[in-house]
Symmetry: C2
Subunit: 333 residues, 2 copies
Amino acid sequence: MAARAGVSRATVSRVVNGEAGVREVLAVKVRRAVKELGYVPNRAARSLVTRRHDAVAVVIAEPETRVFADPFFALQLRGISKELTARDVQLLLLLTEGRDDHERVGRYLAGGHVDGALVFSLHLDDPLPGIIHGAGVPTVFGGRPGWAGSARYVDCDNRGGARQAVRHLVGLGRTRVAHITGPLDQTSAVDRLDGYRDVLPAADPDLVVEGDFTPAGGERAMRLLLDRRPDVDAVFAANDLTASGALRVLRESGRRVPRDVAVVGFDDMLPVAEQADPPLTTVRQDIEGMGRLMAAMLLRGDVHEEGADGADADAEGGACVVLPTELVRRESA
Amino acid sequence: MAARAGVSRATVSRVVNGEAGVREVLAVKVRRAVKELGYVPNRAARSLVTRRHDAVAVVIAEPETRVFADPFFALQLRGISKELTARDVQLLLLLTEGRDDHERVGRYLAGGHVDGALVFSLHLDDPLPGIIHGAGVPTVFGGRPGWAGSARYVDCDNRGGARQAVRHLVGLGRTRVAHITGPLDQTSAVDRLDGYRDVLPAADPDLVVEGDFTPAGGERAMRLLLDRRPDVDAVFAANDLTASGALRVLRESGRRVPRDVAVVGFDDMLPVAEQADPPLTTVRQDIEGMGRLMAAMLLRGDVHEEGADGADADAEGGACVVLPTELVRRESA
């Protein structure tokens, strides 16, 4: 959306959140882009009518070991923390050892201790969304949930970003472009795979290998790829951590990046992308900004209807903000 | 205590917590060591009489950026999480941007949402302990609080561990042993400095430089040390992250470790210590075990009086467990 309006993301965020400090000429541009892209601000709907506890729960549907190992979560929490602190609302991070603990999370949420919940890293077969729905607290999801019904969420344009990555590799003249996916029980991974297939609908299925968004998963997948298709000349990795693992295996195999194999990641997670060897070309998403928007949406009802046309949203209806991505070129592709 | 009893720490923990699965002969040894070291189990006192919420708050008196950057906190949280999950109690990590948010933390704790609080990384001039006391929730501190009054806490033997480190360096024949401290508004840093001075009471004050438990602080302090005393031949760094920064500066300055300058850290935090260049000789403390003990102490009242002799503890009185440390030799000293 920032690209469409020709302004910075910070400006989009300020306009969308009704904050001061944006010149009217820019605000008009942003509102026009919002309209063109099908988002309609709907300031009144679904704000937290009763802020009784001044506390918001954050639930990450991963074991605590993963939460502290993957900087993606720290970045999203940073955005959430800044936004909640600015409104003097306490952030409660509910940690678990795994899925078996989600019933207990539901009991805490239902217990009247928080004003709302921010939930991310959902997996398709996880009972957590049902449990949270049963708890009856206002909720905003990070990432598009995998069910057909309505939900409020903030996401980035995973499919469009994947298309940017793959088109870039094709534009470099690469003809055997592989994809190491994320865990395919998460919509972000499925959407990125769909973006790859949009550009390369006839790609050899052997060029697609499932990873899990971790460096170790990237290593395993890259080894499998090199076994199956030693002639691979490009890899689109579903995130930067996966790419870092793939780069390690390519180096071990004696292949030069980007000369023999070009690699593109996803996230632009610093310092992972910058300190990769070679520095990683990747698809940037504003992870911290997504966290801020989730918190703002929950607390102020600043929700933006996809495809709606100015009508008030049904109080039980869905709403989302999908943030744009951009390709950041470094040395790996 | 494990060393005194000649058994593993896990065994000490099981005996101390009244768990099954320990042979009686070992249990007797542990109880004898507990007695000799002045800890007397006092199972009845100060348990959580009313567990109404099945939730415990964890408060780390650092900004969230530090919480996610320093693996010490992740390790302690891992121990706390395992212990709470085993008892089906929800862990709530209360994140803040900094000290200005501690009043809000106090309001949440006082609001009747949790059964107790685990608090760590206190700084001496922080109003947090007073705020938490005012909130009236049962609390266990990680690390000895800096006030004279009573408190329940779990700590490691910081002073004894520092003595182990410095004696090791002196034993290697080093005569110009420096110390890069932690932030001296924390008792762990003060106690480690006291341990250094126990062994080297007449050391040149120029050999002691204040750090802040971060790699960047270790770099700054090491540069200052090399300016002041270019003849330094050993460094005791107050933690492994500090040591990793000091090693970097020593390498840049062309000094070889350990030949020119021997370096010892504190924590034995993996993978920091193992992946240091060269791998780090350090003082091991059981960080995850400290987290487990804090949680167990809060939930079951398994507290151990220092210096008491079997008498029931005053319900408002202090209680502590101080865990032993051990020197782990690798290549840096």
